[in-house]
Symmetry: C2
Subunit: 235 residues, 2 copies
């Protein structure tokens, strides 16, 4: 019954509005797990065991197409939950969760989760809200992929990453975990080559500053202009 974990839970969206006793119950039924950088929490296609809330560190959820191409579903940070959809409808995890830094998490087995939700409808409703939010994000991505050119998609992706994991540094906002060109490409439906070229161009304009697995946004406003502005024809 770690008071730090307790504080974390209070801040997690799905546990909002639960009373002390309910939170105690939630914590009591949780198990703890650590996963080191580069290791996986679970793999696509595995029987869904548990759903998790990330306590510390960062991870990447990916899917592989039947043809073997990888797609990044999302990056996640502390306080975010994952694996929840598999614990309901789907029996299997739809993607692979890989730690990009050392991580700690709390997990609940399938049975424990269902039990908790039956006793605390609020929990199910909160989760519904979160999953709904994810659905909207995913649809936003469909919208982007359908209507935007690569450059704008990359700009959107970087801004989203900065929002999730941006750390202010002297010269701008730094994306605070190791991320490669390939990762960005898999987030935006392009190739690492195009990402590299785009970042190089932006670097020349002083919009970003990047290196091996490192990206710092120097002019967020300029990036936003690229992401939102000019109704495609203009460029």
């Amino acid at each position: 019954m770690d008071s730090r974990e307790r504080a974390l839970l209070g801040g997690v969206e799905i546990f909002a509005e639960l009373d002390e006793r309910a939170l105690d119950e939630v914590l009591r039924t949780a198990h703890r797990r650590r996963v080191g950088k580069g290791e996986t929490v679970f793999r696509q296609g595995e029987e869904a065991q548990s759903f998790y809330v990330l306590v510390d560190g960062r991870l990447k959820v990916t899917q592989v197409t039947p043809e073997g191409q990888q797609v990044v579903v999302r990056f996640m940070g502390p306080g975010e939950m994952f694996g929840c959809v598999a614990v309901f409808g789907g029996r299997r995890y739809p993607g692979t969760a890989t730690a990009v830094e050392d991580t700690r998490m709390l997990g609940w087995t399938k049975g424990a989760t269902q039990h908790l939700m039956e006793r605390h409808p609020r929990l199910a409703m909160n989760t519904l809200g979160t999953v709904g939010g994810r659905l909207q994000e995913s649809q936003a991505r469909v919208r982007e992929l359908s209507t935007e050119r690569v450059e704008r998609r990359i700009a959107h992706a970087l801004l989203r990453l900065a929002g999730q994991a941006g750390k202010p540094v002297g010269s701008g906002i730094r994306i605070d975990f190791p991320i490669s060109r390939q990762d960005v490409a898999e987030m935006t439906g392009t190739t690492l080559h195009t990402v590299s070229r785009t970042l190089s161009a932006w670097e020349e304009q002083g919009i970003v500053e990047s290196g091996r697995q490192k990206i710092t946004i120097r002019k967020p406003d300029a990036l936003l202009a690229i992401a939102e502005d000019q109704p495609t024809p203009a460029r």
Copy 2:
């Protein structure tokens, strides 16, 4: 307390496993609504009032980008629910629902929905399952848009439509509602021109048969081969 409505509810995924009394309560708190072909149930950005289950007919959910480009989120048939995400997290409808045929639906106000879910956790959990399924579909679409060429995406879209609304006719499977080239383009992130060209090519090969707002799949297997087969380089 229409027994036909009652039968429908029993078959709707989110009401599964609810007992008689719960179903009675659900029906009692519902309101009925008819929306004629071409009219909208709600519009993107409107304050979310209700969530709905489609009883009869078919409708299309679309979103418009800030730049004014339209994207089709999904087509829906009887027994499917919609507008539910807005009733939780989001305050506003994220898209516009337009009837493509005359429709009838059952609706529950925001308040009624939350009340029902608090009393019947099962309902919230079922909804979570359905929304989770939608999330996976949406991610599958992201995957397609990221990794597949237009032709394959169109093939996938037609197969999905056939699965949802396919009606066996003498010469194949007919998509049983009016759908334009533009609609298909907005489902697959391409232009109506490309869709037209693709369908023309398939028509020559006898794979489909199509006309104004009408598409019939003659060789579902050939379409499937296009959708699933040849690891991009091969073509």
